[in-house]
Structures are given as structure tokens and as C-alpha cells.
């Protein structure tokens, strides 16, 4: 594997609220290399977006507090970096696209103006060439009539086009890392396919590292190289998609795969859901956070937090006391 471009090391981001301390990210590490796609999956409230927001410096401090950890980009720690240094990186070398482009785009400025603004913020370039570059970018992401569209406002765009415009903005300065937080969740599947196709082509052209944050295990299976499974603010499992889907070593991963309805197979039986529901991040169960829902749980799980350790190879990590028993289960993804 090539040297990681961006790595998050033992990151802890806790939110101090009136109701208690929300441990949104609690000791999470991951990295992404040039040209690679890392999927981060988890259910709502698992903390899957927070580490990406931390990379961008978009976590509000307070209420949040960085309890520990480093975010290394090209060897520099972004948490320790001053605002000026971070601004130079954010939007230029690392950029982010969000789930809802309507809230991410400013409704009172023309789309072309907003893209040009990003370019002008980072480069010594005049207004007119910046505008021209914005039009060019809109064309590149597949917006028909880019010259005219650049003069329109976000509300005049359809959902898929807004997402394209946001991708154009994120790619304006040829970033090395693209953080995509649920980039297609608000879109219909045929438009989702168009957008993912676009991201893959751009990645192939430019060698961008992509972090794809989603709850959709199908999307990750189709588009990621490696996947990180998060549960209750911690990493449950990390590995190549083949390892994680075909040889899951964490019961939560296995449970997720078991509970999925499959479009590509005839129905065999009822679904096998995970019992119970995800914990509130204010009251995470002691020991392994997954133990109340886990069919493998024993006393040790209720007592000790399992460490994230290599299983059958240095690149496949799982945080489970009973990973060996999980291995004996047939993964439903293996067909």
C-alpha cells in the first residue's frame, strides 16, 4: 500500500452538553492513500461523520472538545495547526461534499459566483478567469449549458444538479482528498448512479483519495477499496471490502449484513435483524458497547472494552473478544 495521505490517529471528539458528555468519536483511527476510496459505514449516531468534520475543522469548539488524537495531512497535524494554515489546506487540498446540497450552497448567490469565490479565495486569479473556470468545472461534472447555468441560483437546479454543482466546487482546486458525507442519500437511485460514476471518473483522472461516508453497505461494496465500520463512536471493524464483507470478524458487521434485504437474490427466509437499538452516545454501555445486542456476548464483553486488533492479517482489524467465533459464521455476502 502507498503511504497514507491523510490519517486520523486515536481521535477523540467529545461534546459537552447539559445532558452529559456525548462521546461522538472515541478513539478512532483511519487513513486514506492517494487514489484510494475508504468507506466509513455506520448507523445514525454512530459518529461516522464527526471524524471527517474534524478533518475539515468544522466541529464547533465548544461544545466539542478534542480529548486526544492527531489528524496528519502530509505530515502536519491539522489539530495543532493555526487557523491560517488550516484555511490554506481546507477547500484546496482537502474538500468535502455534503448530503444536502441545498443547505451547503448559499441560496442568494449565483452558482457560478460561489464556485469562483472558492477559487479566488485560494489562488491569485482575477474575477473573470475565475468565472470562466467555474463554467468549465460545471461542464466537467456534466451540467448541460454550463455558461447559462452558472448564472442561475441553487433553487433553479434539480437535486442531482445541485449535487453536481457542489462536486464542481469541491473539485475546483484539484484537492488531494475528497470527503464525501452521504453524497447520494438525498438522490434517487438512477441519479445516485450518475453521481457515483462521476466521482469514480474524476478519481481515476486525478488520483484523488476519497472518504465515502454512508449508511449504504451496497454503495461501499461497489465503490470502496477498504471499509471502516463504526458503532457507538468506536471502530468495530476495518479492512478491505472483501475481508469485511466475506469474512466479517465483528458481530455487528455480521449482524448488519444479515439484516439486509437483498435485491439480487430470491427471498429465502425472514430477515435476521440485530435485536434492540443503537445506544445513545451519552450512555454507552460499559465494556463492549455492542454487548446488549450481541448474540456472542459473555461476561468479559460486559466488563472489558475490546481492543481493535489485527485478525488474519495486519490490514484486517476487529474490536471483538469473540472474533474467532464470528469467523465460523457464514457471511451472507458470500454468494
Amino acid at each position: 500500500m502507498t503511504e497514507p495521505l491523510l490519517s486520523v490517529e486515536d481521535l477523540r471528539v467529545h461534546f459537552h452538553t447539559d445532558a452529559g458528555v456525548v462521546k461522538a468519536v472515541d478513539g478512532v483511527s483511519w487513513s486514506v492513500a492517494p487514489g484510494e476510496t475508504l468507506g466509513i459505514v455506520g448507523e445514525s449516531g454512530s459518529g461516522k461523520s464527526v471524524s471527517a468534520l474534524a478533518v475539515m475543522g468544522l466541529v464547533p469548539v465548544p461544545p466539542a472538545r478534542y480529548e486526544s488524537g492527531r489528524i496528519l495531512f502530509k505530515g502536519r497535524d491539522l489539530i495543532a495547526a493555526d487557523e491560517k494554515e488550516r484555511r490554506a489546506i481546507r477547500g484546496k487540498e482537502i474538500s468535502m461534499i455534503f448530503q444536502d446540497p441545498l443547505t451547503a450552497l448559499n441560496p442568494v448567490f449565483r452558482v457560478g459566483h460561489q464556485i469562483a469565490e472558492v477559487i479566488q479565495a485560494h489562488e491569485k486569479i482575477g474575477r473573470i478567469p475565475a468565472r470562466a473556470k467555474a463554467v468549465e468545472l460545471l461542464g466537467e461534472v456534466g451540467i448541460p449549458n454550463p455558461r447559462q447555468r452558472a448564472r442561475e441560483y441553487p433553487h433553479q437546479f434539480s437535486g442531482g444538479m445541485r449535487q453536481r454543482a457542489m462536486i464542481a466546487m469541491a473539485l475546483a482546486l484539484d484537492p488531494l482528498v475528497l470527503l464525501a458525507d452521504e453524497p447520494t442519500t438525498a438522490l434517487d437511485v438512477t441519479v445516485q448512479a450518475q453521481i457515483m460514476d462521476l466521482l469514480i471518473r474524476l478519481q481515476a483522472d486525478r488520483g484523488t483519495a476519497i472518504v465515502l461516508i454512508t449508511h449504504d453497505l451496497g454503495l461501499v461494496a461497489g465503490h470502496a477499496d477498504r471499509v471502516l465500520v463504526m458503532y457507538a463512536g468506536k471502530v468495530a471493524e476495518l479492512g478491505t471490502i472483501d475481508d469485511v464483507y466475506y469474512r466479517p470478524r465483528h458481530p455487528y458487521t455480521l449482524g448488519l449484513l444479515n439484516s439486509l434485504a437483498r435485491m439480487d437474490q430470491r427471498r429465502t427466509d425472514r430477515l435476521r435483524p440485530i435485536i434492540g437499538q443503537p445506544p445513545s452516545l451519552i450512555r454507552v454501555p460499559p465494556g463492549c458497547a455492542f454487548h446488549p445486542r450481541c448474540p456472542f456476548a459473555t461476561d468479559v464483553c460486559r466488563r472489558d472494552v475490546p481492543a481493535l486488533e489485527p485478525k488474519d492479517g495486519p490490514d484486517h482489524l476487529a474490536a471483538c473478544h469473540h472474533a474467532d467465533q464470528v469467523e465460523l459464521q457464514q457471511s451472507p455476502a458470500a454468494s
Binding site: D188, V189, T190, Q194, G218, D242, L256, A261
Partner: protein, 333 residues
């Protein structure tokens, strides 16, 4: 099999009005434009399609929550489009709905007991002890009755919504995206609950969804809608194994499956552009503006037919009806 619901030529147009003093119609949003289908007692019939295709409007017209512009809906042989207010209220005991957003569909100021008592109160029925029974049926505890909706998780709230829907022992339940707001692990729980209740109570489901994986799992038959019309309908496995309309094919090929090897070997059929406006749908076949077959495989003469003649929903040799002049079954999953 007897049909519980028969829908014939259902049309729902929303007029677009203009003018300040002299209001006049300048057009219409053709949300649903002439669709027909039947629901057999005890089956799950799913309508799938992307946003704006008219699937929810169809569902609401079946319950007459909105008035159809034209067409008939027969429930148990009775034309409900002609039913008066009093009769309609009686009929509503037999047909209920489960909504997508369990937070928006439960009154935040009422306890669960209050919410579950309301159907009985409205219809002047006795409800002694029924609230507790209902909670048990949907997998909640009797003590949950005194809580408010905000005290529940999304999955539990959806269970309350389901309890309310089954309270009066209906025959038909319209499920409008019942699990799309739920997380994966909770989704499976609610789908299993819906299946258990169907078996236990002999329910018929009209299932509205955009998630094809869920539909393949739960439905007996599926209809695909595009821009207000039905483009293909078939028994579930038949539809997924032999999709014949280019839109169905694009839809199926666009859904990612949680199996890396299969994903690597799959062929995606990409459609171009966005759904056209339902105010001015394209002439002839409504899908032709985005259709990959129209763009890449047809001759000029063949295309002309797509432009001129709206294709009827009939069996063209694929074993199930499709609305495409040049339909042809393909294997995609």
C-alpha cells in the same frame, strides 16, 4: 383470488392557476395519469419509482385521502370514489395507512395511549384493554402507553404508527415508505413485524417504496411507475429476473448490492439527465428523453414510434406487461 381493491384508469391532475381576479387554469401537474391495477386479498403489492413518479399520490387516492380527478377505485366491490362522507368514514375502518416519518405522523402532545385510543373514539367503539393488546402485538410494553412520542426511538415510533393502523382490524393497509427513515438494523425488525401481522391478521398491503431491495423481500407483485404512468408490472421474482422495460432495467442496475464481487462484475445502465416536469411530459413514451435504448439502439424510424405513440401496458412476450414498444427481457442481477 378475489380482488380486494380494483383501481381503474386513475388520474390525478393538480391544476396550475393563474390570474388575480379572473383565475383560470393554465396547465396541470399530471401526478398520476391513467393507471390501473388490482390488489388480491392477503397479498403485498408494491409500487416503486423515484421521487415525483406519482406513487404516493396513487396510494392516497386509493384511500381517498385526496380526490382523484377521474377513474374509479373499488374496495370489496364497492366504488369508493362515489361514497359519501358518512360511508367513507365507515370504510376507513377497513383501510388504514402507515406513514414514512413516524415523528411527523404522531401527535407530540398525546401519549401513546391517547394516540391508540383515538381510532376507537372516532368510530364510537369500546377500547377496554385494547391499547395494551395492540402494544404487545407490535412488540412494545404495556408501560409504554403513558409515554409521549419523543421518548421513543424511530423504530419504536414506527411500531406505534403500526399499532394505530391495525387498531380497528382493517383489511387493507397502505404502507407509504414505512422503513425508509429507519436505520438498517431497525429496518429489518419492522419489516419482520409487518410480515408477522399480515399473516396473523390476514392483511393486504399496498406498499409504496423506492428501495428495491426492501420491495424484492416483502412484495408478491411489483409495479414500476415513471412520471405518472405504470411502465411494468410483474410477480416480484419475475420483475427482478426478467426486467423488460428500459426504465426498470436502469433502476435495477443502479441499485448497489452488498456483495463486492458481484458489484465488480455488474454492468450499470446509466440514464441521462433528470426526470422531466410532470406539467409537460414528453409526447409518446414518457421515458424516451432519458431512455438508453432510445438513444443508442433504435433506428430513426423506430424512434419516431416512441415519439408519436404512447406505449400501452401489455404483455409483449416477456410473460408480464410492459409499456415499451421495444421491450426485451434482460438479466441484470
Amino acid at each position: 383470488m378475489t380482488a380486494l381493491v380494483e383501481v381503474e384508469n386513475l388520474v390525478k391532475h393538480y391544476p396550475i392557476r393563474s390570474g388575480i381576479v379572473f383565475k383560470h387554469d393554465v396547465g396541470a401537474v399530471k401526478a398520476v395519469d391513467g393507471i390501473s391495477f388490482e390488489l388480491a386479498a392477503g397479498e403485498t403489492f408494491a409500487i416503486v419509482g423515484e421521487s415525483g413518479c406519482g406513487k404516493s399520490t396513487t396510494a392516497r387516492c386509493v384511500l381517498r385521502l385526496i380526490e382523484p380527478t377521474s377513474g374509479t377505485v373499488r374496495f370489496d366491490g364497492e366504488d369508493i370514489t362515489a361514497a359519501g362522507t358518512a360511508r367513507l368514514r365507515e370504510l376507513r375502518r377497513e383501510m388504514q395507512m402507515i406513514f414514512q416519518d413516524p415523528f411527523a405522523s404522531l401527535n407530540p402532545r398525546m401519549t401513546v395511549r391517547g394516540i391508540l385510543r383515538e381510532p376507537f373514539r372516532i368510530h364510537g367503539l369500546e377500547e377496554d384493554g385494547k391499547v395494551e393488546d395492540l402494544l404487545e402485538m407490535v412488540g412494545l410494553l404495556p408501560e409504554h402507553a403513558s409515554r409521549y412520542p419523543h421518548e421513543f426511538s424511530g423504530g419504536q415510533r414506527q411500531r406505534v404508527g403500526i399499532a394505530r393502523a391495525i387498531a380497528l382490524n382493517p383489511k387493507l393497509i397502505v404502507c407509504d415508505e414505512p422503513v425508509s427513515a429507519l436505520d438498517v438494523s431497525i429496518r429489518a425488525q419492522v419489516l419482520n413485524l409487518l410480515e408477522d401481522l399480515q399473516k396473523q391478521l390476514g392483511l393486504t398491503y399496498l406498499f409504496i417504496a423506492h428501495d428495491l431491495s426492501v420491495v424484492r423481500h416483502i412484495a408478491n407483485r411489483v409495479a414500476v411507475m415513471y412520471l405518472g404512468t405504470m411502465v411494468e408490472t410483474a410477480a416480484t421474482d419475475d420483475l427482478f429476473e426478467r426486467p423488460s422495460h428500459p426504465y426498470t432495467q436502469a433502476l435495477i442496475s443502479a441499485v448497489p448490492v452488498p456483495d463486492p464481487n458481484r458489484e465488480r462484475s455488474r454492468r450499470r445502465i446509466l440514464v441521462s439527465g433528470d426526470v422531466p416536469s410532470p406539467v409537460n411530459p414528453p409526447s409518446g413514451c414518457r421515458f424516451r428523453t432519458r431512455c438508453p435504448k432510445f438513444a443508442n439502439e433504435l433506428s430513426e424510424a423506430e424512434r419516431q414510434r416512441c415519439v408519436d405513440e404512447p406505449p400501452a401496458l401489455v404483455d409483449r412476450g416477456e410473460g408480464h406487461p410492459t409499456a415499451c414498444h421495444y421491450s426485451e427481457a434482460r438479466t441484470l442481477v
